[in-house]
Symmetry: C2
């Protein structure tokens, strides 16, 4: 009864699973949950439709949860890396927002937050989606908070400020997509740096 871990120790066998997850992550980020069809996911991933339900018997929703975790962990790593770079919190937070702005612009204003869209359209209708979103946001918050604490901020103040930074970044990404311009993000960055200095 050996469980998974089959296949060539490297990536064989799970390759189509990963292809599903990353295709889904990309599509969810760009157009959200409801607008993303299984046909589109299957076509992009290159794997056959039947394999999808082998790897994700829970269907579209299970796949979406996996994609959210995947994107969430990726971005958490990026946040941690930026916040660990030298300079004060004002500087690193500025760098973080600049990085988000650069990524958004480079994608033709398509790649915003990979979690926000799904959260807004599906969190109210699906508790698993909501819980996953909550967990991912919380992981990002922890990274920001601990970076602020490491700079000597009071725990309570650090929590509130981390929340403001994340909220402002999310809102900035939203407004930037609506305007097709990074101006909202740079305005947010400047004001945040004022506050944190």
């Amino acid at each position: 009864m050996s469980m998974s871990a089959r296949r060539d120790p490297t990536t064989a066998g799970t390759s189509s699973r990963e292809a599903f997850v990353s295709s889904t992550a990309k599509l969810l980020r760009r157009q959200g949950y409801a607008a993303t069809g299984l046909n589109e996911i299957v076509a992009r991933s290159g794997a056959p439709r039947g394999s999808l339900y082998f790897h994700f018997p829970g269907g579209k929703q299970e796949l979406a949860l996996a994609a959210m975790e995947h994107s969430g962990e990726q971005l958490r790593g990026a946040i941690a890396a930026v916040m660990a770079s030298p300079g004060g919190a004002a500087r690193t937070v500025g760098g973080l927002i600049d990085a988000l702005a650069a990524g958004l612009e480079a994608s033709g204003y398509r790649d915003g937050c990979p979690i926000a869209t799904v959260t807004l359209e599906a969190a109210a209708g699906s508790e698993p989606v909501r819980l996953t979103a909550e967990r991912v946001f919380s992981s990002w918050l922890s990274e920001l908070e601990s970076a602020l604490v490491a700079e000597g901020a009071e725990p309570e103040a650090a929590r509130r400020r981390a929340m403001l930074v994340l909220a402002a970044a999310e809102g900035g990404l939203l407004l930037a997509r609506a305007q097709r311009d990074t101006a909202p993000l740079t305005a947010v960055r400047d004001e945040l740096q004022n506050l944190l200095a």
Copy 2:
């Protein structure tokens, strides 16, 4: 024999049009564009399907644009009213965010920003949607900005701060929906009041 509120002289002719718009606005706010079906809109509005295409020959998209304008104008009025109340900017901005939090909680965390969800899922794929979102956000920004200018803020600083306030409010609504808790909004409110004091 038809029993559906026939032609009351005042609202004559446009009553079903308005029913379509307000039903659509409510549904877009709660679940976004792609997840909202015409069947659901038609059922809620009480009007027949055929009438929809009489009033909105452009179909779902035209209806969505009208609903976005409708919600946008409504919220613009609310923002203007709150910002005109007595007290400094720190106080009125705090009141605005408290009002958003109260509305969100009262709806069971379903009614967030009526524009954000549609923007994130559809702005990249439909220029009319994007432009409408841009216009609505801009109208809200103007209200915030002029309230800050009326308090003696420099024009440039007022613009940047209005952007931060809107971005933080949008992000706060997003995080509050993910957490099913108003804590993100109160944290954002407190930090914003600090900054504006």
